[in-house]
């Protein structure tokens, strides 16, 4: 590999992701679920609209997960597949999806950690399948992207005057 590979996802992928996450939120009583890729880009948000800056949140999530990944290796674990950050009122549960994406669940006192963990197990499994299929398509995705950005240079020139 000469550089990092691109990936893309369609509206259909997005609908599938939404359906899985909506069912999960309903079953677990969690407030909101976000999907963030490992480079810190926000992929999807389902449930209550977060009151914070989601872009900043996504970059910190990826950094948090990556740092914990390294800590896992240092203590002899291949990875921490999930993380929990528990607060007094608000808590977060993070889980790995297909080694490329992180599921972040935000929940409050209306949900319990046990229930969130339990219900997350099946949604993680379903999302793993969705994303693995998506990544397997990367070869064909390239053709879709080709030419997408022709004329981009002019646009950048305009932006910077």
């Amino acid at each position: 590999m000469t550089g990092a590979a691109s990936w893309s996802f369609s509206e259909n992928d997005f609908k599938q992701i939404q359906t899985h996450l909506q069912a999960f939120l309903r079953d677990s009583n969690a407030r909101c679920a976000l999907l963030v890729d490992r480079t810190g880009q926000l992929v999807a948000t389902v449930g209550e609209t977060p009151q914070f800056d989601p872009t900043a949140f996504a970059s910190l999530t990826a950094a948090d997960f990556s740092a914990n990944d390294q800590l896992a290796k240092m203590i002899g674990e291949p990875e921490f597949a999930s993380l929990v950050h528990q607060g007094e009122k608000e808590s977060m549960y993070l889980a790995d999806i297909a080694k490329r994406v992180i599921l972040v669940v935000l929940f409050d006192q209306r949900a319990t950690l046990g229930l969130v963990k339990l219900k997350a197990r099946s949604v993680v499994e379903s999302l793993n399948k969705v994303f693995e299929e998506m990544f397997n398509r990367v070869g064909t995705g390239g053709a879709q992207q080709k030419g997408l950005l022709e004329g981009a240079e002019d646009e950048i020139d305009k932006l910077f005057g």
Binding site: T2, A4, T39, G40, S59, A67
Partner: protein, 224 residues
């Protein structure tokens, strides 16, 4: 790893500002943050120590406008420059689409520059990324200081070039930023390629947007 989201019609790319400690990486981002309109940028996040040294990273998302109906969003990151933060520095490189190496032009920082450049090559290689094949530019910062080394010496030490083996790429490519200079040229019978370079005084904002523009263009070109 650029991400194209057809559902929300967004293209997200990751740029990393790399280089030795106190070279001006954070200053580059601060200048972009200060000058870009609040509608086109997000919140700037700095994970720094109490003395404002970058501990993990600085982060700034900037929208570069809409192209072909897609919003192009660049995520700008800096890494901690100090040698002993290598573990966190390496994490930030994950999925990078373009790199700006911010070199400190001061003569006495030459060794730190070389060490950081070597560290960048090593960390990239560990991810399997080839620095000669992804968008990569060098910014020589602090050009206003009296002890700034000549560009010729900095280029020789930090951007000496790499051999171009692919015959299709063996053609003279002028450097658009420096008339009379080439990015690809035949030198003593060997084809050599170099990263584009720019001069800057980041603390005054000189060269900051030029740098961002050059690297963003290179990244978007890889998608076209």
């Amino acid at each position: 790893m650029s991400m194209i989201n057809y559902a929300s019609r967004e293209i997200n790319c990751k740029l990393v500002y790399y280089g030795p400690g106190l070279g001006g990486k954070t200053t580059n981002l601060e200048h972009v943050y200060a000058k870009v309109s609040p509608q086109t940028r997000g919140k700037m996040i700095s994970l720094a120590t109490e003395t404002e040294r970058t501990l993990f990273f600085d982060f700034l998302p900037v929208d570069l406008g809409t192209i072909r109906g897609f919003k192009t969003r660049f995520h700008l990151y800096t890494v901690p420059g100090q040698v002993y933060y290598n573990a966190s520095r390496k994490l930030i490189l994950k999925g990078v689409d373009g790199i700006v190496f911010v070199a400190d032009s001061q003569l006495e920082r030459m060794e730190a520059n070389v060490e950081s450049m070597q560290n960048l090559y090593d960390n990239m290689a560990e991810y399997g990324y080839d620095l000669t094949k992804i968008p990569f530019i060098v910014q020589y910062n602090k050009r206003d200081l009296p002890n700034a080394a000549p560009i010729k010496d900095l280029q020789a030490a930090l951007n000496p070039g790499w051999p171009i083996e692919d015959a299709a790429q063996q053609k003279v490519t002028p450097d658009p930023n420096h008339p009379g200079e080439n990015l690809v040229a035949s030198e003593g019978g060997q084809w050599v390629g170099r990263a584009p370079y720019l001069e800057a005084v980041a603390v005054r904002g000189d060269g900051v947007f030029d740098t961002l523009k050059v690297v963003s263009k290179l990244v978007l070109k890889t998608l076209s």
